[in-house]
């Protein structure tokens, strides 16, 4: 996993609630057996029409829209456990997803792939939407060390929560599986001390 460094970037906004993982990447694009290339099908059915031509009114198809921060309405990532959703977002160049509420499995999948989920208040989320609508190139800063998401120009923002374990992993690029492998003795001891197998 890559180390998470402080990001300053414009944001791509999707002011829609309950964006489920079937919207992030539809099931028919889950047939690949490796982790790469999912970005091209991110938000596939919103991004392209039936003839596979870009829908001009979808945000990712609009000229000048760019950035490594995705901002979306509440309950982002609900539905299926497909990690392909996190891969598709990361593969498209995003490093941060901001919402006022995340589905649990999506949040874990994001953290396991170096994609930072930033949960902000509903009020602050609306402020971001409003500001980007007014001025699409508005820059934001994401500082994981300080746990702060802010308007870069104003230096004003909101603190966000993240557990100490995941913060350390992201800042250092540590891999969860390496960590848990280092606890193998404890796992075997646990197995041996159990009274029953189930």
């Amino acid at each position: 996993m890559e180390k998470f460094v402080t990001i300053q970037s414009a944001a791509v906004t999707l002011p829609i609630e309950n964006i489920d993982t079937d919207q992030i990447i539809p099931a028919r694009f889950l047939k690949a057996t490796d982790r790469t290339g999912f970005g091209e099908n991110l938000f596939r059915d919103w991004r392209y029409n039936e003839a596979d031509e870009p829908n001009a009114d979808f945000v990712l198809n609009q000229p000048g829209v760019k950035g490594s921060i995705l901002v979306a309405g509440r309950n982002f990532g609900c539905g299926s456990s497909r990690e392909h959703a996190a891969w598709a977002i990361y593969d498209s160049g995003f490093r941060v997803v901001v919402s006022s509420f995340f589905a649990d499995i999506f949040k874990n999948n994001a953290l396991n792939n170096g994609l930072l989920p930033v949960q902000v208040s509903d009020h602050f989320l609306q402020a971001i939407f409003w500001e980007v609508k007014r001025k699409p190139d508005t820059e934001f800063e994401v500082n994981l060390e300080k746990q702060l998401f802010s308007f870069a120009r104003l230096k004003a923002g909101e603190e966000f929560e993240i557990g100490a374990y995941h913060k350390t992993c992201l800042l250092n690029g540590y891999d969860n599986i390496d960590y848990i492998l280092s606890r193998k003795e404890s796992i075997e001891r646990f197995e041996n001390e159990r009274v029953r197998a189930w």
Binding site: I16, E17, N18, D22, D45, G79, S80, G163, I177, A197
Partner: protein, 464 residues
């Protein structure tokens, strides 16, 4: 005073270590895998030079991306064929037991685990599929995970997990006629929304839950994720033990008796403390149907679509109804339906098929309605054939197909065409879930069957 919940008891019995200010290392008793979310995990294991740590706790099947006709022939679509072959290859290489296509135990992963007696009370169970919550019906902690976590469990038989909060949902009273498990869970989700359970693990309790069969309890727990909850569970009781007894992989004889003694202790203490408690009256529940694009957007079938958003922004509500081609305040009864899908890990078990067959016997489907009925497993399919259910369904004009996830997620060729309406017994009505542009109404198997016969959305109570 003892204040532990059922969840606490099972979770605490599986904590290997607690990381200070971090997650728990949770031991996993049973890992189910399938073709779609496992290939990258096997690749990861290989890259690390690891083997599957506890092969006897790992079981694989092919279900998400398999055809539901001509399963004896090679899969036509190249990418799907490759994905299913990759699972076989990986299971051979890593020595994992696989119930692949054609095997007598193949089927939807959440159907085969319980029917084989692999899923047992008090276990921790995971799978790279959000509907793993199904297995909670046995009083186990069961939840869906991503592929990195699949790799973690393969490599260590453990997961790093933050302990969720607990919620009790109690439903007391007697269910009315025509009201099934599916209606109960759709009702709950319509009340608390598609995100109302996020951050929680749910325990379902109360007299209405106790009265349900195991298969009905599985339907309830299955859809816990649709309110955002990681999982749902029901304390095991005589109904549970009776279901497990004699199943092929379940403990037998004296081992079974010993197991029952332990399983009987898996109940929440009288003074158990939950972070949230909700109560509903069974009498309030009617046959349910969804009208929008998340499972929380549901109404009693006799009610109209709300005139305005109940728990989302006006924009999201409008976008949802536009996608569905529906108007605020509209009634759904009588709406013509061209597709009916009866299947999925929510409602594809033998009891579901029995209920449907009992209703359609001697009736014919509407001419314009296509009806797909997909048994949850080879064992369900065989039981349906043995009981003559397949004949009843065929005589009604229903297509009785072979096991798999099918049109629930539209990964294989079983897709509902763009713009068409489908009354579906599955679990998600998301945009495009059943195929690009497909419009889904979630309902119980009986509501789906009555709709198939009438060719329009029908209140099953009109027939009872």
């Amino acid at each position: 005073m003892n204040r532990s919940t059922l969840f606490d008891k099972v979770w605490d019995a599986h904590v290997v270590e607690h990381i200070p200010d971090g997650p728990d290392i949770l031991y996993i008793d049973q890992h189910y895998i399938h073709e779609v979310t496992s290939p990258q995990a096997f690749t990861g294991l290989e890259r690390r030079g690891l083997s599957v740590f506890r092969k006897d706790r790992t079981l694989a099947t092919a279900d998400h991306n398999v055809p539901t006709i001509d399963q004896h022939l090679p899969i036509k679509e190249a990418l799907s064929r490759h994905q299913v072959e990759k699972l076989t290859e990986n299971c051979e290489k890593f020595n994992v037991e696989l119930f692949g296509l054609g095997h007598k135990y193949q089927g939807i992963v959440h159907v085969i685990g319980p029917e084989l007696g692999v899923t047992l009370p008090g276990m921790t169970i995971v799978c790279g599929d959000s509907h793993t919550s199904t297995h909670g019906a046995f009083g186990s902690i069961a939840f869906g995970i991503g592929t990195s976590e699949v790799e973690m469990v393969m490599g260590t038989q453990c997961l790093l997990q933050n302990r969720p909060k607990t919620m009790k949902i109690e439903i007391n009273g007697e269910l009315g006629k025509g009201v099934y498990a599916k209606d109960i869970i759709l009702y709950i989700i319509s009340k608390i929304s598609a995100s109302g359970g996020t951050g929680y693990f749910v325990e379902y309790a109360g007299s209405a839950i106790r009265s349900l069969s195991m298969e009905a309890r599985m339907t309830i727990c299955n859809m816990s994720i649709e309110m955002g909850a990681r999982g749902g569970m029901i304390a095991p009781d005589e109904t549970t033990f009776e279901y497990i007894k004699g199943r092929e992989r379940a403990p037998q004889g004296a081992d079974f008796d010993e197991a029952v003694a332990y399983w009987s202790s898996l109940v929440s203490d009288i003074d158990a403390e939950y972070d949230e408690v909700l109560e509903f009256k069974a009498e309030e529940i009617e046959p349910m149907i969804t009208y929008g694009t998340n499972p929380g957007m549901g109404v009693k079938i006799s009610e109209n679509i709300p005139v305005s958003a109940t728990d989302s922004s006006k924009e999201s509500f409008t976008k949802s109804l536009e996608y569905m081609g529906l108007e605020p305040g509209q009634s759904l009864l009588g709406k013509p339906i061209n597709y009916v899908f009866i299947g999925s890990c929510t409602n594809s078990r033998i009891e579901d098929l029995r209920e449907v067959a009992g209703f359609v016997k001697g009736k014919k489907k509407a001419e314009h309605t296509n009806v797909w009925i997909i048994p949850g497993s080879k064992q369900v399919e065989q039981a349906a054939i043995d009981e003559g259910i397949d004949q009843v369904l065929k005589e009604a004009g229903f297509e009785f197909r072979q096991p798999g996830c099918s049109a629930c997620l539209g990964m294989n060729e079983d897709k509902v065409p763009k713009g068409e309406y489908c009354v579906s017994t599955s679990n998600r009505n998301f945009e495009g879930r059943q195929g690009p542009g497909a419009r889904t109404f979630l309902a119980s198997p009986l509501t789906a069957a009555a709709t198939a016969i009438n060719g329009q959305i029908t209140d099953i109570r009109d027939y009872l």
